[in-house]
Each structure stands twice: as structure tokens, then as C-alpha cells.
């Protein structure tokens, strides 16, 4: 345990949203050189607390001091002037700008001059998070966006680095390199406040931990000595069980419900990935996992499946035997398919719309009780939103809140629940448990398994290899727009998949 001075101290922080106390008298001290974990289930108040420390929210009560001196952090500019840097849970990137421009904005003017593109390239390589400085953010998948956020923050050389779930969409290798970097920074005296739902990495990485539940500090366990189960129990307040491994189950014999046949798609943006002769069959009753490093065509594959990018040929995609390659999303939904994209804010849900309106957005074409003759039935929609909230244990503010008011993990539960609630025959889902706490992640995985058990075909795209190994009956790997044949999970190994992810199948 490094014995640096107290860098940042917060006392009695209270933050209320309406009637709900998101933070309820929280005390926290972070020392120089310390890797401090902030743990808690979805909606526990972690993001709220760090936003207060970063000055983007103002506490209702409580005080903050920096190096022993009382301070008020009125806005992010002041926090940055103190030396606080933050990687946000929901990215704060500029879609219309390039990677280099996004990074330049966060740096002092003298560091953001002409050589920046080269700096970005070399520094990002050295952190193990390679970036193309000329790419436009709009065209990049979330994994790469996460890298930008992290590299941008590291380049600022902060004295306190706040990271809100930085690894949830990174590959294990990228995460490993990030930990090395963080350890080195801590060695140089930088303090890190680290939020993650991956308890294993917290135990590897962090020196100390603070656990929140319902906005209160419920414990300060030592992550080096506490077991995973201890931490999880502290977070959730009850024991947590796994979803149960699917390995060794008999191969599914149901009919092919989702088929992709020789699908090739030119990238429609300069930095996209072209799909090259992708073929895949998913039978009713099975979950097929697609593993791969971010930015290898997962987004394009998902868009082709959902109909956001129609194929040139109807036969390229079949849902329950119906050729639908050129259909749009709504017509595919009417065939019984459902789609859950990876990015919950902005793609899967509209932050400024209420949950009921968000529920209508993907379901008005398939649920006649939500809309008839172009007219919406809002009370039905509110009922539906309520049902999803209850069934999937979404911890949301009272009533019918805007999607943006939900914590990240709770919104994820909502967008997953919205589609699962329909009992689709075919489900394509990308990053199903991104940012969801372990209790809820287990719940979502169990729901996916139950859906498959009832005869649905489930295709799950994820960068989390553990998740893929846990939930899939068969696994395919996507690399540079090509998809390897799907093999039964029991017949493959982590190493074999790792090799394919690196492009060994080409």
C-alpha cells in the first residue's frame, strides 16, 4: 500500500435527484500513488460521485478538499486546472471531428501543435491502445472510442485520474496493457480512482476499495485479500450465483432460424470495415457467439443483420426461411427478429425521450396494442415500460423518466429487456452486458439462455471472451470483416480463439 499524502478528500457528499438520494453522505479519500477502486451495483451512485469530483455536477451537501485545502470544483474546467482527468462512462467525444482533433482539444495549446498526429500514433501504440489519428470518430466502433477516451486522458498527465468503466469494451490484452500503464502512473505518484464491474481486475490492480450501495458507503474492503464472492456480496447485499455454463449441452437440432449466406458489404465510410463473404447459421435453441477485437466488422455485421445497412441481395440473409437481405429493420422485426445494438445511448435509446417512448421506438411495428393506424397508445406504452422495468429489475427514478436519467447499467438492462420481453424468434445482440453489474449481467445471460431454450436463435456479438465462452453453444470469430466457421464451444480453446482474433484464420 503506497503511503502517499491525501490528494483528494470528499466528506459527506449528498446528491439528490428529485426524491432519490444518488449519493448519501459519502466520505472518500484518495492518496497520491494509490489505485483506488469504486465499486457498487448498477445505480449505486458511482458515476454521480465522480461527476461531482470532476465538477460536472454540484453536490447538495458536503465538501471537497484537494491536497488538504478546501476547494469547490465549480465546473470541469476548474477540475482540469487542479489536475483531475476523467474517462467517462458515456463517452464525451466529438463525432464530427477526427481522433487527433478530439485529443488536441483536451491538451494544453503547446502540446497540441503540428506533431500531434505522430504523437497520438506513437503514444497510443506504446499504451497498447493503437489509434489512427486521421479517422473520424463517427465511423469508429465503441471499442476504439474507448481507446480514444483513455489515450486522451493519459496524455493530459493528470494527478488524479478518474476512470468510469474504462475496460468494459476493451479486449483482455488491451486491458492488461492499460493496467501496466496505470501501475506505472501510480508508481510516479498519480492517483487513480477506478470504477469497474469486473471484480477480477479490481483485485489484480487496486490497492484499496470503497463499495457503494444505494448511494451509501457500505464497506472499504482490501481488494488484495477479499475474495470475489466477498466483494460481490458487499455490493449486492446478497450472494451471487453464476449463470451456469452451457458447455457439454447437446448440439441444437432445431431448424435454422437465422442464416447469413455469402454476405459481402463494402464499407460505406472511409474508415469502416468491409464484410467479406460472411456465412453463418443459427439454429433455434442455440446461442452462437461472435468473438473478435473491436473494429473488425462487428458493427457492420450487426447493421447488416438488423437491416440498418441492407444487403444488395435478398438471399444474403434469411430469417425463419424468409429471404430478407434488402428489408429494413421494421420488416425484419415483423418476421420475429429483434436487435440490440451495442451503444445504448444514442443508438439503442434516445436519451431525451422517456422510457415509454423509447419502448415504442423499436416495438410500434410489431405490437399492435402500441400503435394502430399511425396513432400511439401512450398508456399502453407506459404499461410496457413499467413491465420491462419490473421484470428486468431496472432501478430507475420514479414514474416514466427520460432514458438519460438512468445509470448506464440500468439503461442497458432496459434496452435488453425491451427486446427480450417480446420473446423474439431470432435475436441479434451486441455487447449484451456492457456496463452491467455482475448480479444483473448474470440475469441477462440467464435470460438469453432461457430465450434460446424456448427455441429462439440467438446471435451474441461480444468483445468479452469470458462472456462468449460462458453463454455460447458455438463460437465464431470475426477478424478484418471475415467470419470463421462456428465451432462448438467444447471443441475450442481460449488460445485457438485468441489466434483467430489475431487474424490467423486469413
Amino acid at each position: 500500500m503506497p503511503g502517499g499524502n491525501v490528494l483528494l478528500e470528499a466528506r459527506g457528499i449528498v446528491k439528490r435527484f428529485g426524491g432519490l438520494a444518488a449519493n448519501d453522505r459519502i466520505d472518500l479519500a484518495v492518496h497520491a500513488g494509490e489505485l483506488h477502486a469504486l465499486l457498487g451495483e448498477n445505480g449505486a451512485g458511482k458515476s454521480t460521485l465522480v461527476k461531482i469530483l470532476y465538477g460536472s455536477l454540484q453536490p447538495d451537501e458536503g465538501a471537497v478538499s484537494w491536497e488538504g485545502r478546501p476547494t469547490t470544483v465549480g465546473n470541469p474546467a476548474e477540475a482540469r486546472a487542479l489536475g483531475i482527468g476523467m474517462v467517462f462512462q458515456h463517452f464525451s467525444l466529438f463525432e464530427g471531428l477526427t481522433v487527433a482533433e478530439n485529443i488536441a482539444l483536451a491538451l494544453p495549446p503547446d502540446a497540441a501543435g503540428r506533431g500531434l498526429a505522430d504523437d497520438v500514433r506513437s503514444v497510443s501504440e506504446s499504451y497498447g491502445l493503437p489509434l489512427d489519428p486521421a479517422a473520424r470518430v463517427a465511423s469508429l466502433p465503441v471499442g476504439v472510442r474507448q481507446r480514444i477516451e483513455i489515450v486522451r486522458c493519459l496524455l493530459q498527465r493528470p494527478r488524479l485520474l478518474i476512470m468510469d468503466e474504462p475496460t468494459s469494451v476493451l479486449t483482455p490484452q488491451e486491458a492488461e496493457r492499460l493496467f501496466e500503464t496505470l501501475r506505472r502512473l501510480a508508481g510516479e505518484g498519480c492517483a487513480v480512482l477506478y470504477i469497474s464491474h469486473r471484480l477480477e481486475e479490481v483485485r489484480q490492480l487496486c490497492h484499496s476499495a470503497t463499495v457503494l450501495r444505494h448511494g451509501r458507503v457500505v464497506g472499504r474492503p482490501d481488494p488484495k485479500t477479499a475474495s470475489m464472492a466477498d466483494l460481490a456480496r458487499l455490493m449486492v447485499g446478497a450472494d451471487v450465483q453464476g449463470a451456469g455454463n452451457r458447455e457439454g449441452r447437446p448440439a441444437a437440432t432445431g431448424p435454422v432460424r437465422l442464416a447469413v449466406r455469402g454476405l459481402s458489404l463494402e464499407a460505406d465510410t472511409p474508415f469502416g470495415v468491409s464484410l467479406d463473404d460472411v456465412s453463418l447459421e443459427v439454429r433455434g435453441g442455440e446461442i452462437v457467439g461472435v468473438a473478435g477485437v473491436a473494429g473488425n466488422g462487428q458493427d457492420e455485421l450487426f447493421a447488416a443483420l438488423s437491416g440498418e445497412t441492407p444487403a444488395s441481395d435478398d438471399a444474403a440473409i434469411e430469417i425463419d426461411g424468409r429471404a430478407c437481405g434488402r428489408m429494413g429493420p421494421r420488416r425484419r422485426r415483423r418476421l420475429g427478429a429483434a436487435f440490440i445494438p451495442e451503444e445504448r445511448l444514442g443508438h439503442a435509446a434516445v436519451p431525451a425521450m422517456r422510457l415509454s417512448e423509447n419502448a415504442v421506438l423499436t416495438r410500434h411495428g410489431t405490437d399492435p396494442e402500441l400503435a394502430t393506424g399511425g396513432l400511439l397508445h401512450l398508456s399502453q406504452a407506459r404499461g410496457l415500460a413499467r413491465r420491462i422495468v419490473e421484470r428486468f429489475d431496472v432501478r430507475a427514478p420514479e414514474g416514466d423518466p427520460e432514458a438519460g436519467a438512468l445509470s448506464g447499467g440500468n439503461l442497458q438492462k432496459f434496452v435488453v429487456g425491451r427486446e427480450l420481453d417480446r420473446r423474439p424468434g431470432v435475436l441479434a445482440v451486441s455487447q449484451p452486458t456492457w456496463g452491467v453489474d455482475i448480479g444483473a449481467a448474470t440475469g441477462i445471460r440467464r435470460e438469453l439462455a432461457a430465450l434460446a431454450r424456448d427455441g429462439a436463435a440467438v446471435l451474441a456479438i461480444s468483445q468479452d471472451l469470458d462472456e462468449i465462452l460462458e453463454i455460447s453453444d458455438r463460437i465464431a470469430v470475426i477478424s478484418r470483416g471475415r467470419l470463421s466457421p462456428a465451432v462448438p464451444t467444447g471443441d475450442t480453446t481460449r488460445e485457438a480463439i485468441g489466434l483467430l482474433m489475431g487474424g490467423a484464420g486469413d
Partner: protein, 306 residues
């Protein structure tokens, strides 16, 4: 002066006020603020510019008065939409109405007075060159200023840090705020710049184009400048192309009508609009780029979370 030179000169004088106003609005919109009051700021600039020149006896001080007039009106707009978070569309439309009314009131005393003209420059030898002499070296100073302004705005937006911050604010104000950029301050400065440009464009009309004050003399040019910004997909040099194209088509169709070309006059009057739209659509046909160049926060109110 040959007929050709005369035509080119009129094209240039028709294009210049459009270009100046469009550049100002372009910077404002790049910061994410939609100011529909260009017409109102222009007409106020026209009258304050004219009044300034009459009262001081110097058309150059008139130019400054024109910019000040536009800026004064835009600062009111900025206060409404940035400090009070008022609706930008409604406030912009109100600004136009206010500007038209205000200018009529200020201008009442100046109706019918002969104005002071911003003289064209005259460089010995160069201006006397055949064909290109007057076109290149015999314009009034604001013509050169407007072209320089287009280049400067382009350099500013794409090659300076402040320009990057401005685009960032227009692209995603919440993220910009999180990175410590002062969103409201940046937008206020952009609005003021837009106001100064609109005022200057109005002043051009009353000091160079037709040196006199006539009520409603902007005659819808502010609206055309607004449209140019969109069709130029928020690119300053494209706005310049658009302004000259529009100016050119406008003047040529006058001549065509005067020559009695056997086309319906309604069609000829519509021609500048059609030509400009067509040309700029072709220029910005790269869909993907166009989508990403547009400031995504345009017209949205920014109130930081508390």
C-alpha cells in the same frame, strides 16, 4: 470600361454582401447557434452605417458603425438564447422583425439624403490594365476584405485551436463542457462575430452598393445568406463559391431579361436560386462528409447539468 467589365463589377458587388453575411452566420452556426436574424442585423447595419458616415463625414467610420449596429443587435440575441436559454428559432425571427422596425425608425431622418460612397481603389497602371485592371485592382476595399475574410475564416476554423474548440462546441456541447471548454462564452463570441459580419454586409449596401438609405433595402439578402450557409455545408470557401454563383446568376438573368430572351421572366428570376442550389448540391454530394460536417448541436439549448 467595357460591357464585360461592367457586368463583372456588378456581379462582384452583388456577391460581396451575401458572402460577408454568410461567413458571419457560418461561424455562428458552427458554434451550434442558429441565428435567423441575419436580415434584421443587416438592415440595422445598413442604417447605422449610413448614419455613421453622414454624421462623421467618413464612409470608413460608417463601416465601423455598421458593424457596431449588427453587433449590438446580436448581443441582444446572444443574451436571450445563451443566458436565458430562449428558443433560437423564435428569437431569431423576432430579431429580424425588430431589426426591420428599428432601422425604419433610425433611418427616417436620412431618407432621400445623398450618401457618402466607399470609393473604389485606384492603383496607377494596375487599375488601367485592359480587361483585368478594374476587375482585379479597381474594386472597393470591402470586396478585398470579404475574400480575405473567407480565407481567414477557413484557416481559423480548420487550422487553429480556437477554431477547433468552436467546432467542438457546435458538434457536442456536453462533451466540450466536460473537457473544460467554455461553451457559452465561445458561442457568445461567435454570435457577436456573426452580428458584426451581418452589420458589415448591411453597411456595404448603404455605403458601396447604392450609397443611400432606403427602407427595407436589404430585400431578403439575409435570408439568401442563411440558405447559402446550409448549401455550402458550413464550409467557408464553398460559401464564397455559392455567393459568387448566386451573384453571377442574378446579374446575368437581369441582362437576359433586358435582352428580351424568350423565356418566361418567372423562370429567369428563379434561375439564380436554382443554379446556386444545384451547384452547391454537387459540391457537397459526398453524403457522409456532409453529414459529419454539419454542427450536430445546431439550435440546441445548452444548460450544463448541476
Amino acid at each position: 470600361m467595357t460591357g464585360f467589365e461592367a457586368v463583372v463589377l456588378t456581379i462582384v458587388t452583388a456577391a460581396t454582401p451575401l458572402l460577408i453575411a454568410a461567413l458571419g452566420e457560418l461561424v455562428t452556426e458552427r458554434s451550434g447557434v442558429l441565428n435567423l436574424g441575419v436580415e434584421g442585423m443587416m438592415i440595422v447595419g445598413a442604417v447605422t452605417g449610413f448614419a455613421g458616415a453622414q454624421l462623421t463625414g467618413s464612409p470608413y467610420l460608417g463601416v465601423i458603425a455598421a458593424m457596431a449596429g449588427g453587433m449590438a443587435l446580436s448581443s441582444l440575441f446572444g443574451f436571450l438564447v445563451l443566458r436565458l436559454a430562449a428558443n433560437q428559432v423564435a428569437s431569431g425571427l423576432a430579431l429580424t422583425l425588430l431589426g426591420l422596425g428599428l432601422s425604419g425608425m433610425i433611418g427616417e431622418a436620412f431618407i432621400g439624403q445623398p450618401g457618402l460612397k466607399l470609393e473604389r481603389i485606384d492603383i496607377p497602371f494596375l487599375t488601367d490594365l485592359p480587361v483585368v485592371g478594374t476587375i482585379l485592382f479597381g474594386q472597393d476595399p470591402l470586396v478585398y476584405a470579404s475574400v480575405a475574410l473567407a480565407v481567414c475564416v477557413s484557416r481559423f476554423l480548420f487550422h487553429t485551436r480556437a477554431g477547433l474548440a468552436l467546432r467542438a462546441v457546435g458538434n457536442n456541447h456536453a462533451s466540450a463542457h466536460m473537457l473544460g471548454v467554455h461553451v457559452i462564452r465561445t458561442r457568445f463570441l461567435a454570435v457577436l462575430f456573426g452580428g458584426a459580419c451581418s452589420g458589415l454586409a448591411g453597411g456595404y449596401l448603404s455605403l458601396a452598393y447604392t450609397p443611400q438609405w432606403v427602407e427595407g433595402m436589404t430585400a431578403g439578402r439575409g435570408w439568401i445568406a442563411l440558405a447559402l450557409v446550409v448549401f455550402a455545408s458550413w464550409m467557408p470557401l464553398r460559401a464564397a463559391v455559392g455567393a459568387y454563383l448566386f451573384g453571377g446568376a442574378l446579374i446575368l438573368q437581369f441582362h437576359a431579361q433586358a435582352e428580351g430572351i424568350p423565356l418566361p421572366s418567372q423562370f429567369l428570376s428563379a434561375l439564380p436560386y436554382i443554379a446556386t442550389v444545384a451547384a452547391l448540391v454537387i459540391l457537397s454530394r459526398d453524403q457522409w462528409r456532409a453529414r459529419n460536417d454539419s454542427p450536430s448541436c445546431l439550435g440546441q439549448v445548452f444548460v450544463p447539468d448541476r
